[in-house]
Amino acid sequence: MVKKSAAEITILWIFFVLFVIYAITLLFPVAWCLNNSFKYQKEFMLNTWSFPKEFTIANWISSFEREIEGTNLAGMFVNSIILIVGCSFCSIGSSAVTAYCLAKYNFRGKGAFYSLAVVLMMIPSTGSTAAIYKMFFQIGLYDTFFGIFIMNLGGFGSGFLLLYGFFKNLPWSYAEAGFIDGASHFRVFFTVMLPMAVPGIAAVAILTCIGIWNDYYTVYMYAPSIITVAYGMQRLVAQTSYNANYPELFALMLLSMIPVIVVFCVFQKTIMNNTAVGGLKG
Protein backbone atom coordinates (compact mmCIF):
# COMPACT_ATOMS: atom_id res chain seq x y z
CA MET A 1 0.00 0.00 0.00
CA VAL A 2 1.24 3.45 -0.89
CA LYS A 3 0.88 5.91 1.98
CA LYS A 4 -2.03 8.30 1.79
CA SER A 5 -1.16 11.89 1.02
CA ALA A 6 -2.33 14.78 3.19
CA ALA A 7 -4.69 15.98 0.46
CA GLU A 8 -6.26 12.57 0.24
CA ILE A 9 -6.82 12.43 3.97
CA THR A 10 -8.45 15.88 3.93
CA ILE A 11 -10.79 14.83 1.12
CA LEU A 12 -11.72 11.66 2.96
CA TRP A 13 -12.52 13.57 6.15
CA ILE A 14 -14.60 16.21 4.35
CA PHE A 15 -16.67 13.46 2.79
CA PHE A 16 -16.78 11.59 6.07
CA VAL A 17 -18.54 14.58 7.62
CA LEU A 18 -20.94 14.79 4.65
CA PHE A 19 -21.64 11.07 4.94
CA VAL A 20 -22.40 11.39 8.64
CA ILE A 21 -24.82 14.26 7.92
CA TYR A 22 -26.56 12.28 5.20
CA ALA A 23 -26.78 9.20 7.43
CA ILE A 24 -28.36 11.36 10.14
CA THR A 25 -31.00 12.65 7.72
CA LEU A 26 -31.86 9.03 7.00
CA LEU A 27 -31.92 7.79 10.59
CA PHE A 28 -33.12 10.80 12.55
CA PRO A 29 -36.70 10.85 11.18
CA VAL A 30 -37.09 7.19 12.15
CA ALA A 31 -35.79 7.88 15.65
CA TRP A 32 -38.08 10.92 15.89
CA CYS A 33 -41.10 8.78 14.96
CA LEU A 34 -40.05 6.06 17.37
CA ASN A 35 -39.73 8.56 20.20
CA ASN A 36 -43.09 10.15 19.45
CA SER A 37 -44.85 6.82 19.11
CA PHE A 38 -44.51 6.40 22.89
CA LYS A 39 -46.38 9.64 23.63
CA TYR A 40 -50.06 10.23 24.14
CA GLN A 41 -51.56 12.27 21.34
CA LYS A 42 -52.07 15.28 23.64
CA GLU A 43 -48.43 15.42 24.57
CA PHE A 44 -47.39 14.96 20.94
CA MET A 45 -49.48 17.95 19.89
CA LEU A 46 -47.80 20.11 22.52
CA ASN A 47 -44.25 18.98 22.07
CA THR A 48 -42.85 16.87 19.28
CA TRP A 49 -39.23 17.15 20.34
CA SER A 50 -38.73 16.02 23.93
CA PHE A 51 -38.65 12.50 25.24
CA PRO A 52 -42.09 11.30 26.36
CA LYS A 53 -42.96 12.61 29.85
CA GLU A 54 -45.70 10.05 30.16
CA PHE A 55 -44.40 6.91 28.51
CA THR A 56 -47.09 4.73 26.91
CA ILE A 57 -47.28 1.75 24.60
CA ALA A 58 -51.01 2.31 24.06
CA ASN A 59 -50.39 3.43 20.46
CA TRP A 60 -48.56 0.24 19.64
CA ILE A 61 -51.41 -1.84 21.01
CA SER A 62 -54.20 0.18 19.43
CA SER A 63 -52.43 0.16 16.08
CA PHE A 64 -53.20 -3.54 15.84
CA GLU A 65 -56.89 -2.70 15.87
CA ARG A 66 -56.82 -0.17 13.06
CA GLU A 67 -58.85 -1.44 10.16
CA ILE A 68 -59.04 -0.72 6.46
CA GLU A 69 -62.24 -2.11 4.95
CA GLY A 70 -62.49 -4.74 7.65
CA THR A 71 -58.86 -5.86 7.45
CA ASN A 72 -56.84 -5.17 10.57
CA LEU A 73 -53.08 -5.15 10.84
CA ALA A 74 -52.90 -8.90 11.45
CA GLY A 75 -55.06 -9.47 8.37
CA MET A 76 -52.77 -7.22 6.35
CA PHE A 77 -49.75 -9.22 7.48
CA VAL A 78 -51.51 -12.44 6.45
CA ASN A 79 -52.38 -10.99 3.02
CA SER A 80 -48.82 -9.82 2.51
CA ILE A 81 -47.45 -13.20 3.49
CA ILE A 82 -49.81 -15.07 1.14
CA LEU A 83 -48.71 -12.77 -1.67
CA ILE A 84 -45.04 -13.19 -0.82
CA VAL A 85 -45.24 -16.98 -0.74
CA GLY A 86 -47.35 -17.27 -3.90
CA CYS A 87 -45.64 -14.62 -5.98
CA SER A 88 -42.09 -15.54 -5.09
CA PHE A 89 -42.84 -19.22 -5.74
CA CYS A 90 -44.29 -18.39 -9.16
CA SER A 91 -41.67 -15.90 -10.20
CA ILE A 92 -38.61 -17.72 -8.89
CA GLY A 93 -39.87 -21.10 -10.08
CA SER A 94 -40.48 -19.79 -13.56
CA SER A 95 -37.19 -17.88 -13.73
CA ALA A 96 -35.21 -20.85 -12.40
CA VAL A 97 -36.74 -23.24 -14.93
CA THR A 98 -36.15 -20.84 -17.82
CA ALA A 99 -32.63 -20.03 -16.68
CA TYR A 100 -31.75 -23.72 -16.31
CA CYS A 101 -33.07 -24.70 -19.73
CA LEU A 102 -31.30 -21.84 -21.48
CA ALA A 103 -28.04 -22.26 -19.56
CA LYS A 104 -27.72 -26.02 -19.86
CA TYR A 105 -29.51 -27.18 -23.00
CA ASN A 106 -29.01 -26.45 -26.66
CA PHE A 107 -32.02 -25.86 -28.83
CA ARG A 108 -33.10 -23.72 -31.69
CA GLY A 109 -33.98 -20.13 -30.79
CA LYS A 110 -32.01 -20.24 -27.56
CA GLY A 111 -30.00 -17.13 -28.35
CA ALA A 112 -33.21 -15.32 -29.25
CA PHE A 113 -34.68 -16.16 -25.84
CA TYR A 114 -31.67 -14.74 -24.04
CA SER A 115 -31.60 -11.47 -25.97
CA LEU A 116 -35.35 -11.28 -25.50
CA ALA A 117 -34.87 -11.32 -21.74
CA VAL A 118 -32.31 -8.53 -21.91
CA VAL A 119 -34.45 -6.43 -24.26
CA LEU A 120 -37.64 -6.96 -22.24
CA MET A 121 -35.98 -5.41 -19.22
CA MET A 122 -35.31 -2.20 -21.11
CA ILE A 123 -38.65 -1.58 -22.81
CA PRO A 124 -40.74 0.79 -20.73
CA SER A 125 -43.80 -1.33 -19.96
CA THR A 126 -46.03 1.14 -18.15
CA GLY A 127 -48.21 1.40 -21.23
CA SER A 128 -49.35 -2.22 -21.08
CA THR A 129 -51.07 -1.60 -17.74
CA ALA A 130 -54.29 -0.66 -19.52
CA ALA A 131 -54.50 -3.88 -21.52
CA ILE A 132 -53.67 -6.08 -18.51
CA TYR A 133 -56.29 -4.27 -16.45
CA LYS A 134 -58.86 -4.85 -19.17
CA MET A 135 -57.92 -8.52 -19.61
CA PHE A 136 -58.11 -9.15 -15.86
CA PHE A 137 -61.62 -7.72 -15.81
CA GLN A 138 -62.74 -9.79 -18.78
CA ILE A 139 -61.49 -13.15 -17.51
CA GLY A 140 -62.35 -12.60 -13.87
CA LEU A 141 -58.83 -12.35 -12.49
CA TYR A 142 -59.31 -8.80 -11.24
CA ASP A 143 -59.14 -8.56 -7.46
CA THR A 144 -57.94 -12.14 -6.93
CA PHE A 145 -54.75 -13.56 -5.45
CA PHE A 146 -54.67 -15.98 -8.35
CA GLY A 147 -54.46 -13.17 -10.90
CA ILE A 148 -51.45 -11.65 -9.20
CA PHE A 149 -49.74 -15.04 -8.94
CA ILE A 150 -50.25 -15.61 -12.66
CA MET A 151 -48.86 -12.20 -13.43
CA ASN A 152 -45.67 -13.24 -11.63
CA LEU A 153 -45.13 -16.36 -13.72
CA GLY A 154 -42.89 -14.52 -16.17
CA GLY A 155 -39.60 -16.29 -16.73
CA PHE A 156 -37.58 -13.51 -18.33
CA GLY A 157 -37.10 -10.88 -15.66
CA SER A 158 -34.09 -9.81 -13.62
CA GLY A 159 -34.33 -13.05 -11.60
CA PHE A 160 -33.75 -14.93 -14.83
CA LEU A 161 -30.54 -13.06 -15.63
CA LEU A 162 -29.16 -13.66 -12.13
CA LEU A 163 -30.01 -17.36 -12.10
CA TYR A 164 -28.82 -17.83 -15.69
CA GLY A 165 -25.34 -16.78 -14.60
CA PHE A 166 -25.60 -19.05 -11.59
CA PHE A 167 -26.63 -22.17 -13.53
CA LYS A 168 -24.02 -21.48 -16.21
CA ASN A 169 -21.32 -21.86 -13.58
CA LEU A 170 -22.65 -25.15 -12.15
CA PRO A 171 -20.70 -28.14 -13.49
CA TRP A 172 -22.70 -30.32 -15.87
CA SER A 173 -20.83 -33.48 -14.80
CA TYR A 174 -23.20 -33.97 -11.84
CA ALA A 175 -26.12 -34.09 -14.23
CA GLU A 176 -24.25 -36.55 -16.48
CA ALA A 177 -23.64 -38.80 -13.50
CA GLY A 178 -27.36 -38.71 -12.88
CA PHE A 179 -28.15 -39.62 -16.48
CA ILE A 180 -25.78 -42.61 -16.32
CA ASP A 181 -27.68 -43.81 -13.26
CA GLY A 182 -30.78 -43.71 -15.43
CA ALA A 183 -32.40 -40.60 -14.00
CA SER A 184 -34.72 -38.63 -16.24
CA HIS A 185 -34.16 -34.98 -17.16
CA PHE A 186 -36.84 -33.97 -14.68
CA ARG A 187 -35.28 -35.99 -11.90
CA VAL A 188 -31.84 -34.57 -12.58
CA PHE A 189 -33.22 -31.04 -12.51
CA PHE A 190 -35.24 -31.40 -9.32
CA THR A 191 -32.97 -33.65 -7.29
CA VAL A 192 -29.46 -32.80 -8.53
CA MET A 193 -29.19 -29.39 -10.15
CA LEU A 194 -31.87 -27.39 -8.35
CA PRO A 195 -30.54 -28.20 -4.85
CA MET A 196 -27.09 -27.05 -5.95
CA ALA A 197 -28.56 -23.73 -7.05
CA VAL A 198 -30.09 -23.03 -3.64
CA PRO A 199 -27.58 -20.31 -2.65
CA GLY A 200 -28.27 -18.37 -5.85
CA ILE A 201 -32.01 -18.92 -5.58
CA ALA A 202 -32.00 -17.85 -1.92
CA ALA A 203 -30.30 -14.57 -2.79
CA VAL A 204 -32.83 -13.86 -5.52
CA ALA A 205 -35.65 -14.95 -3.22
CA ILE A 206 -34.72 -12.54 -0.42
CA LEU A 207 -34.74 -9.57 -2.78
CA THR A 208 -37.95 -10.76 -4.43
CA CYS A 209 -39.68 -11.14 -1.05
CA ILE A 210 -38.62 -7.69 0.12
CA GLY A 211 -39.85 -6.28 -3.16
CA ILE A 212 -43.26 -7.94 -2.80
CA TRP A 213 -43.59 -6.89 0.85
CA ASN A 214 -42.98 -3.26 -0.17
CA ASP A 215 -44.99 -3.30 -3.38
CA TYR A 216 -48.21 -1.41 -3.00
CA TYR A 217 -48.77 -0.63 -6.65
CA THR A 218 -49.69 -4.11 -7.97
CA VAL A 219 -52.40 -4.55 -5.36
CA TYR A 220 -53.65 -0.99 -5.78
CA MET A 221 -53.95 -1.51 -9.50
CA TYR A 222 -55.16 -5.09 -9.90
CA ALA A 223 -56.55 -6.28 -6.55
CA PRO A 224 -57.63 -3.32 -4.41
CA SER A 225 -59.65 -5.38 -1.95
CA ILE A 226 -56.61 -7.43 -0.92
CA ILE A 227 -55.29 -5.05 1.70
CA THR A 228 -51.61 -5.81 2.19
CA VAL A 229 -49.38 -4.05 4.68
CA ALA A 230 -47.93 -1.65 2.11
CA TYR A 231 -51.31 -0.90 0.54
CA GLY A 232 -52.98 -0.58 3.93
CA MET A 233 -50.35 1.92 5.05
CA GLN A 234 -50.92 3.98 1.94
CA ARG A 235 -54.69 3.96 2.55
CA LEU A 236 -54.18 4.97 6.18
CA VAL A 237 -51.96 7.87 5.22
CA ALA A 238 -54.47 8.98 2.61
CA GLN A 239 -57.15 9.06 5.34
CA THR A 240 -55.01 10.94 7.82
CA SER A 241 -56.23 14.39 8.68
CA TYR A 242 -54.31 17.05 10.56
CA ASN A 243 -55.78 16.07 13.92
CA ALA A 244 -55.28 12.35 13.39
CA ASN A 245 -53.58 10.24 16.02
CA TYR A 246 -50.06 10.68 14.71
CA PRO A 247 -48.29 8.67 17.42
CA GLU A 248 -50.40 5.67 16.48
CA LEU A 249 -49.55 6.20 12.82
CA PHE A 250 -45.84 6.22 13.74
CA ALA A 251 -46.27 2.95 15.60
CA LEU A 252 -48.01 1.40 12.59
CA MET A 253 -45.34 2.63 10.25
CA LEU A 254 -42.56 1.22 12.40
CA LEU A 255 -44.40 -2.09 12.77
CA SER A 256 -44.64 -2.38 8.99
CA MET A 257 -40.90 -1.75 8.69
CA ILE A 258 -39.78 -4.31 11.27
CA PRO A 259 -39.97 -7.46 9.10
CA VAL A 260 -37.95 -5.88 6.30
CA ILE A 261 -35.33 -4.49 8.65
CA VAL A 262 -34.98 -7.87 10.39
CA VAL A 263 -34.62 -9.73 7.09
CA PHE A 264 -32.18 -7.13 5.86
CA CYS A 265 -30.03 -7.37 8.99
CA VAL A 266 -29.98 -11.17 8.94
CA PHE A 267 -29.23 -11.48 5.23
CA GLN A 268 -27.30 -8.23 4.85
CA LYS A 269 -24.17 -9.90 3.45
CA THR A 270 -26.11 -12.00 0.96
CA ILE A 271 -28.15 -9.04 -0.23
CA MET A 272 -25.27 -6.60 -0.62
CA ASN A 273 -22.93 -9.12 -2.25
CA ASN A 274 -25.61 -10.44 -4.49
CA THR A 275 -26.64 -7.05 -5.78
CA ALA A 276 -22.94 -6.45 -6.33
CA VAL A 277 -22.10 -9.65 -8.17
CA GLY A 278 -25.49 -10.10 -9.75
CA GLY A 279 -25.15 -6.83 -11.58
CA LEU A 280 -25.66 -7.48 -15.23
CA LYS A 281 -22.38 -8.59 -16.63
CA GLY A 282 -22.50 -7.69 -20.30
Binding site: P29, V97, P124, T126, G154, S256, N273
Partner: protein
Protein backbone atom coordinates in the same frame (compact mmCIF):
# COMPACT_ATOMS: atom_id res chain seq x y z
CA UNK B 1 -27.18 -50.92 -35.53
CA UNK B 2 -30.84 -50.16 -35.87
CA UNK B 3 -31.40 -50.59 -32.15
CA UNK B 4 -28.79 -47.97 -31.20
CA UNK B 5 -30.41 -45.46 -33.46
CA UNK B 6 -33.74 -46.07 -31.82
CA UNK B 7 -32.24 -45.37 -28.38
CA UNK B 8 -30.55 -42.11 -29.39
CA UNK B 9 -33.71 -40.95 -31.08
CA UNK B 10 -35.76 -41.54 -28.00
CA UNK B 11 -33.13 -39.79 -25.84
CA UNK B 12 -33.50 -36.79 -28.08
CA UNK B 13 -37.26 -36.94 -27.68
CA UNK B 14 -36.93 -37.24 -23.94
CA UNK B 15 -34.89 -34.05 -23.93
CA UNK B 16 -37.43 -32.36 -26.17
CA UNK B 17 -40.33 -33.37 -23.96
CA UNK B 18 -38.43 -32.11 -20.92
CA UNK B 19 -37.70 -28.73 -22.52
CA UNK B 20 -41.24 -28.36 -23.85
CA UNK B 21 -42.79 -29.08 -20.45
CA UNK B 22 -40.40 -26.83 -18.59
CA UNK B 23 -40.63 -23.92 -20.99
CA UNK B 24 -44.39 -24.19 -21.52
CA UNK B 25 -45.40 -21.87 -18.67
CA UNK B 26 -42.77 -19.14 -19.22
CA UNK B 27 -43.44 -19.11 -22.95
CA UNK B 28 -47.23 -19.05 -22.46
CA UNK B 29 -46.82 -16.21 -19.99
CA UNK B 30 -44.71 -14.33 -22.50
CA UNK B 31 -47.25 -14.88 -25.28
CA UNK B 32 -50.12 -13.61 -23.12
CA UNK B 33 -48.48 -10.88 -21.06
CA UNK B 34 -46.19 -9.55 -23.75
CA UNK B 35 -47.40 -10.42 -27.25
CA UNK B 36 -51.15 -10.36 -26.69
CA UNK B 37 -51.08 -7.49 -24.19
CA UNK B 38 -49.00 -5.29 -26.45
CA UNK B 39 -51.16 -6.02 -29.48
CA UNK B 40 -54.21 -5.17 -27.41
CA UNK B 41 -52.53 -1.97 -26.21
CA UNK B 42 -52.11 -0.94 -29.84
CA UNK B 43 -55.75 -1.84 -30.49
CA UNK B 44 -56.95 0.05 -27.41
CA UNK B 45 -55.15 3.19 -28.51
CA UNK B 46 -57.44 3.32 -31.56
CA UNK B 47 -60.57 2.62 -29.54
CA UNK B 48 -62.82 4.40 -27.15
CA UNK B 49 -65.37 3.26 -24.61
CA UNK B 50 -68.83 3.37 -26.18
CA UNK B 51 -70.70 5.83 -23.97
CA UNK B 52 -74.01 5.74 -25.83
CA UNK B 53 -76.94 4.60 -23.63
CA UNK B 54 -77.57 1.45 -25.66
CA UNK B 55 -74.03 0.09 -25.26
CA UNK B 56 -72.90 -2.35 -22.62
CA UNK B 57 -69.43 -0.95 -22.14
CA UNK B 58 -67.86 -2.05 -25.38
CA UNK B 59 -64.85 -0.51 -27.02
CA UNK B 60 -65.42 0.93 -30.48
CA UNK B 61 -62.93 1.92 -33.18
CA UNK B 62 -62.34 5.68 -33.28
CA UNK B 63 -59.26 5.99 -35.51
CA UNK B 64 -56.68 8.57 -34.51
CA UNK B 65 -58.96 10.40 -32.08
CA UNK B 66 -56.98 9.54 -28.92
CA UNK B 67 -53.72 10.56 -30.54
CA UNK B 68 -55.23 13.84 -31.73
CA UNK B 69 -56.42 14.55 -28.23
CA UNK B 70 -52.94 14.06 -26.80
CA UNK B 71 -51.30 16.27 -29.41
CA UNK B 72 -53.87 18.94 -28.68
CA UNK B 73 -52.86 18.67 -25.02
CA UNK B 74 -49.19 18.93 -25.96
CA UNK B 75 -49.61 22.21 -27.78
CA UNK B 76 -51.20 23.98 -24.85
CA UNK B 77 -48.45 25.00 -22.43
CA UNK B 78 -50.59 24.67 -19.30
CA UNK B 79 -51.93 21.18 -19.87
CA UNK B 80 -51.15 18.46 -17.38
CA UNK B 81 -49.43 16.48 -20.07
CA UNK B 82 -46.85 19.17 -20.81
CA UNK B 83 -46.04 19.36 -17.12
CA UNK B 84 -45.81 15.58 -16.98
CA UNK B 85 -43.19 15.53 -19.74
CA UNK B 86 -41.19 18.32 -18.09
CA UNK B 87 -41.23 16.53 -14.73
CA UNK B 88 -40.30 13.16 -16.17
CA UNK B 89 -37.32 14.75 -17.91
CA UNK B 90 -36.33 16.51 -14.67
CA UNK B 91 -36.40 13.22 -12.78
CA UNK B 92 -34.40 11.54 -15.53
CA UNK B 93 -31.78 14.30 -15.32
CA UNK B 94 -31.64 13.98 -11.53
CA UNK B 95 -31.21 10.25 -11.81
CA UNK B 96 -28.54 10.12 -14.50
CA UNK B 97 -26.62 13.35 -14.01
CA UNK B 98 -26.77 13.80 -10.26
CA UNK B 99 -27.49 10.52 -8.51
CA UNK B 100 -25.42 8.26 -10.74
CA UNK B 101 -22.22 10.39 -10.56
CA UNK B 102 -22.75 10.80 -6.82
CA UNK B 103 -23.17 7.04 -6.50
CA UNK B 104 -19.87 6.49 -8.31
CA UNK B 105 -18.10 9.05 -6.13
CA UNK B 106 -19.58 7.61 -2.93
CA UNK B 107 -18.77 4.02 -3.87
CA UNK B 108 -15.20 5.08 -4.68
CA UNK B 109 -14.80 6.98 -1.41
CA UNK B 110 -16.19 4.06 0.59
CA UNK B 111 -13.70 1.84 -1.17
CA UNK B 112 -10.79 4.12 -0.26
CA UNK B 113 -10.78 3.07 3.39
CA UNK B 114 -13.28 5.63 4.60
CA UNK B 115 -13.87 5.12 8.33
CA UNK B 116 -17.16 3.31 9.06
CA UNK B 117 -17.46 2.38 5.36
CA UNK B 118 -19.40 -0.80 6.15
CA UNK B 119 -21.96 1.03 8.27
CA UNK B 120 -22.41 3.76 5.65
CA UNK B 121 -22.94 1.19 2.93
CA UNK B 122 -25.76 -0.42 4.90
CA UNK B 123 -27.37 2.84 6.05
CA UNK B 124 -27.28 4.34 2.55
CA UNK B 125 -28.92 1.23 1.17
CA UNK B 126 -31.78 1.31 3.69
CA UNK B 127 -34.02 3.57 1.55
CA UNK B 128 -33.84 0.96 -1.19
CA UNK B 129 -35.24 -1.83 0.96
CA UNK B 130 -37.77 0.07 3.06
CA UNK B 131 -41.17 0.42 1.44
CA UNK B 132 -41.58 3.56 -0.61
CA UNK B 133 -44.94 4.02 1.09
CA UNK B 134 -43.22 4.29 4.48
CA UNK B 135 -40.38 6.43 3.15
CA UNK B 136 -42.68 8.96 1.53
CA UNK B 137 -44.72 9.00 4.76
CA UNK B 138 -41.60 9.75 6.74
CA UNK B 139 -40.61 12.48 4.31
CA UNK B 140 -44.06 14.04 4.52
CA UNK B 141 -43.92 13.98 8.33
CA UNK B 142 -40.60 15.77 8.23
CA UNK B 143 -42.08 18.58 6.13
CA UNK B 144 -45.53 18.53 7.74
CA UNK B 145 -46.86 22.02 8.52
CA UNK B 146 -48.39 21.33 11.93
CA UNK B 147 -46.13 18.76 13.53
CA UNK B 148 -43.18 18.46 11.17
CA UNK B 149 -39.48 18.54 11.94
CA UNK B 150 -38.23 21.06 9.37
CA UNK B 151 -40.46 24.08 10.03
CA UNK B 152 -39.55 24.58 13.72
CA UNK B 153 -35.86 24.29 12.78
CA UNK B 154 -36.22 26.91 10.03
CA UNK B 155 -38.10 29.24 12.38
CA UNK B 156 -35.40 28.86 15.00
CA UNK B 157 -32.83 29.83 12.35
CA UNK B 158 -34.85 32.92 11.45
CA UNK B 159 -35.82 31.50 8.07
CA UNK B 160 -39.53 31.24 8.87
CA UNK B 161 -40.44 33.44 5.92
CA UNK B 162 -39.38 30.85 3.34
CA UNK B 163 -41.93 28.32 4.56
CA UNK B 164 -44.70 28.20 1.94
CA UNK B 165 -48.16 29.05 3.27
CA UNK B 166 -49.93 25.97 1.92
CA UNK B 167 -47.22 23.63 3.12
CA UNK B 168 -44.17 22.37 1.28
CA UNK B 169 -45.97 19.63 -0.62
CA UNK B 170 -49.11 21.57 -1.41
CA UNK B 171 -47.80 24.81 -2.77
CA UNK B 172 -47.32 25.19 -6.51
CA UNK B 173 -43.81 26.62 -6.26
CA UNK B 174 -42.33 23.99 -4.01
CA UNK B 175 -44.25 20.76 -4.72
CA UNK B 176 -42.12 19.54 -7.62
CA UNK B 177 -38.93 20.65 -5.87
CA UNK B 178 -39.96 18.53 -2.91
CA UNK B 179 -40.49 15.50 -5.16
CA UNK B 180 -37.01 16.04 -6.60
CA UNK B 181 -35.58 16.49 -3.11
CA UNK B 182 -37.23 13.27 -2.00
CA UNK B 183 -35.85 11.35 -4.99
CA UNK B 184 -32.41 12.76 -4.25
CA UNK B 185 -32.57 11.94 -0.54
CA UNK B 186 -33.90 8.42 -1.05
CA UNK B 187 -31.93 7.63 -4.19
CA UNK B 188 -28.28 8.29 -3.38
CA UNK B 189 -27.48 4.85 -1.99
CA UNK B 190 -29.45 2.66 -4.38
CA UNK B 191 -26.64 2.20 -6.90
CA UNK B 192 -23.80 1.91 -4.41
CA UNK B 193 -23.75 -1.91 -3.93
CA UNK B 194 -23.56 -2.51 -7.69
CA UNK B 195 -20.88 0.13 -8.18
CA UNK B 196 -18.90 -1.02 -5.14
CA UNK B 197 -18.96 -4.54 -6.49
CA UNK B 198 -17.63 -3.33 -9.82
CA UNK B 199 -14.88 -1.29 -8.14
CA UNK B 200 -13.86 -4.27 -6.02
CA UNK B 201 -13.37 -6.36 -9.13
CA UNK B 202 -10.72 -3.97 -10.47
CA UNK B 203 -7.35 -5.68 -10.00
CA UNK B 204 -5.18 -3.95 -7.41
CA UNK B 205 -2.17 -3.96 -9.82
CA UNK B 206 -3.92 -1.58 -12.19
CA UNK B 207 -4.56 0.96 -9.46
CA UNK B 208 -1.08 0.45 -8.01
CA UNK B 209 0.38 1.16 -11.47
CA UNK B 210 -1.63 4.36 -11.66
CA UNK B 211 -0.36 5.47 -8.28
CA UNK B 212 3.23 4.83 -9.32
CA UNK B 213 2.60 7.04 -12.33
CA UNK B 214 1.61 9.77 -9.91
CA UNK B 215 -2.15 9.77 -10.49
CA UNK B 216 -3.87 11.61 -7.63
CA UNK B 217 -6.99 10.79 -5.68
CA UNK B 218 -9.49 12.04 -8.24
CA UNK B 219 -7.15 11.19 -11.11
CA UNK B 220 -7.42 7.56 -10.15
CA UNK B 221 -11.21 7.84 -10.08
CA UNK B 222 -11.35 9.53 -13.46
CA UNK B 223 -8.62 7.72 -15.40
CA UNK B 224 -8.70 4.24 -13.90
CA UNK B 225 -11.86 3.46 -11.96
CA UNK B 226 -14.56 4.98 -14.18
CA UNK B 227 -13.30 3.49 -17.47
CA UNK B 228 -12.96 0.07 -15.85
CA UNK B 229 -16.45 0.03 -14.35
CA UNK B 230 -17.87 1.33 -17.64
CA UNK B 231 -20.21 -1.63 -18.23
CA UNK B 232 -21.87 -1.20 -14.85
CA UNK B 233 -22.14 2.55 -15.32
CA UNK B 234 -23.74 2.16 -18.75
CA UNK B 235 -26.22 -0.40 -17.44
CA UNK B 236 -27.26 1.94 -14.65
CA UNK B 237 -27.42 4.85 -17.09
CA UNK B 238 -29.74 2.85 -19.32
CA UNK B 239 -32.07 1.94 -16.50
CA UNK B 240 -31.95 5.59 -15.49
CA UNK B 241 -33.13 6.51 -18.98
CA UNK B 242 -36.24 4.33 -18.73
CA UNK B 243 -37.18 6.42 -15.67
CA UNK B 244 -38.64 8.98 -18.10
CA UNK B 245 -41.43 6.53 -18.87
CA UNK B 246 -41.72 4.56 -15.66
CA UNK B 247 -41.40 6.83 -12.62
CA UNK B 248 -44.63 7.73 -10.83
CA UNK B 249 -44.73 6.24 -7.33
CA UNK B 250 -42.82 9.10 -5.72
CA UNK B 251 -45.08 11.93 -6.93
CA UNK B 252 -48.17 9.77 -6.51
CA UNK B 253 -47.46 9.09 -2.87
CA UNK B 254 -46.07 12.51 -1.98
CA UNK B 255 -48.44 14.86 -3.77
CA UNK B 256 -50.85 12.72 -5.79
CA UNK B 257 -49.76 14.68 -8.85
CA UNK B 258 -51.09 17.92 -7.38
CA UNK B 259 -51.35 20.83 -6.89
CA UNK B 260 -52.98 21.53 -10.28
CA UNK B 261 -51.08 18.70 -11.94
CA UNK B 262 -47.82 20.44 -11.07
CA UNK B 263 -46.10 17.16 -10.11
CA UNK B 264 -47.51 14.78 -12.73
CA UNK B 265 -45.15 12.49 -14.63
CA UNK B 266 -45.81 10.60 -17.85
CA UNK B 267 -46.28 7.27 -16.09
CA UNK B 268 -48.45 8.83 -13.38
CA UNK B 269 -50.65 10.19 -16.15
CA UNK B 270 -51.05 6.67 -17.54
CA UNK B 271 -51.72 5.08 -14.15
CA UNK B 272 -54.21 7.70 -13.02
CA UNK B 273 -56.09 7.73 -16.30
CA UNK B 274 -56.56 3.96 -16.01
CA UNK B 275 -57.17 3.51 -12.31
CA UNK B 276 -58.87 6.73 -11.26
CA UNK B 277 -60.69 7.90 -14.39
CA UNK B 278 -61.18 4.51 -16.04
CA UNK B 279 -59.82 5.90 -19.30
CA UNK B 280 -58.07 2.74 -20.44
CA UNK B 281 -57.75 3.92 -24.01
CA UNK B 282 -55.96 7.17 -23.15
CA UNK B 283 -53.55 5.24 -20.90
CA UNK B 284 -52.86 2.81 -23.73
CA UNK B 285 -52.32 5.64 -26.23
CA UNK B 286 -49.76 7.36 -24.02
CA UNK B 287 -48.16 3.95 -23.45
CA UNK B 288 -47.81 3.40 -27.20
CA UNK B 289 -46.31 6.86 -27.69
CA UNK B 290 -43.85 6.14 -24.87
CA UNK B 291 -42.81 2.86 -26.44
CA UNK B 292 -42.46 4.50 -29.87
CA UNK B 293 -40.31 7.32 -28.51
CA UNK B 294 -38.67 5.43 -25.67
CA UNK B 295 -37.40 2.31 -27.40
CA UNK B 296 -35.26 4.20 -29.98
CA UNK B 297 -33.98 6.54 -27.25
CA UNK B 298 -32.89 3.58 -25.12
CA UNK B 299 -31.40 1.78 -28.12
CA UNK B 300 -29.42 4.84 -29.25
CA UNK B 301 -28.28 5.47 -25.68
CA UNK B 302 -27.04 1.89 -25.52
CA UNK B 303 -25.06 2.35 -28.77
CA UNK B 304 -23.54 5.61 -27.58
CA UNK B 305 -22.60 4.16 -24.22
CA UNK B 306 -20.86 1.23 -25.88
CA UNK B 307 -18.74 3.79 -27.76
CA UNK B 308 -17.99 5.86 -24.66
CA UNK B 309 -17.35 2.93 -22.34
CA UNK B 310 -15.73 0.15 -24.32
CA UNK B 311 -15.54 -3.13 -22.39
CA UNK B 312 -12.07 -3.79 -21.03
CA UNK B 313 -11.07 -7.34 -20.28
CA UNK B 314 -9.13 -7.64 -17.07
Amino acid sequence: MKKIQAITLSAKWKERIFLLTMMAIPVAHFLVFFVYINLDTVALSFQSLDRSPSSSGEYIFVGWQNYREIFRGLTSPYSVFTKAIRNSLLLFALNNFVLLPLGILFAYLLHRKMPLAGAFRVIFYLPSIVSIVVLTMLFSFVFDSTNGIINPVLERLGLGHIIPEDGWLRSRDTAMKMVLLYCFWAGIGGNIPLLSGAIQRIPEELREAGRLDGVGFFGELWHIVIPLIGTTVSTLYMFGTTVIFTIFLQPKLLTGGGPDGETYTIALYIVESIRESGELTMGATVGILCALIGTPIVAITKRLLEKIFPTYEY
